[in-house]
Symmetry: C2
Subunit: 120 residues, 2 copies
């Protein structure tokens, strides 16, 4: 008897990028969240901006745009001190990062289920 | 008695772009699906490419890359005839467009539910 050949169905993956907008057009997306994360990591807007090949001004404008979303500051400047000042995330800044990743995770989970059912 | 002021919670929207990859790295995304749709609409690869500010060669390479996903042709060239030939979508080409939009719709529905629960 000939061997039965079963056609293996192909596997697919869904990749996505999201942006979360408020109703005034302010948004957070992957890049902006990375900026916040880098500010938190380096304790410096200048350093975070350089890491992402942006100017300080661009980085600061992004932060200011994101401040509008929550109507509160996401980044706090620390004046003076040993290193000549720096910056740190506020509690709200940490929250925005957390919420964004949670949404990404939920969508990731859902799209993995969808991907299993794709049949072109 | 003073009127109770309830703080209205802000509304957010989640926007996303997806790409569906097979395990060899071939993919369909929004732009490529638009290309297929334009080929179907205009009955011409040249015209569809122009519409999307691509060269014929770029457009054809994208179609060829997508053919690999399904291991079958998505676009059929029509040789000769009155207008000097053209192109049309195969049944599989139509199917790819449909599946892609279905995935987008499912994700759209899910992300609308997620968006309602966002609280920064």
């Amino acid at each position: 008897m000939p061997k039965q050949i079963t056609k293996q169905s192909k596997k697919y993956d869904i990749f996505f990028r999201i942006r979360i907008f408020d109703d005034s057009g302010h948004f957070v997306g992957k890049g902006r969240i990375e900026l916040l994360e880098n500010i938190g990591k380096f304790g410096s807007i200048t350093r975070a901006a350089a890491e992402m090949k942006m100017s300080y001004r661009q980085a600061w404008q992004m932060v200011e745009d994101m401040n509008e979303i929550t109507a509160s500051l996401l980044v706090e400047k620390i004046l003076g001190g040993k290193g000549g000042g720096g910056a740190k995330l506020t509690v709200k800044g940490e929250k925005v990062i957390k919420v964004f990743h949670q949404i990404e995770d939920d969508l990731e989970h859902f799209s993995r289920q969808l991907a299993k059912k794709i049949k072109f």
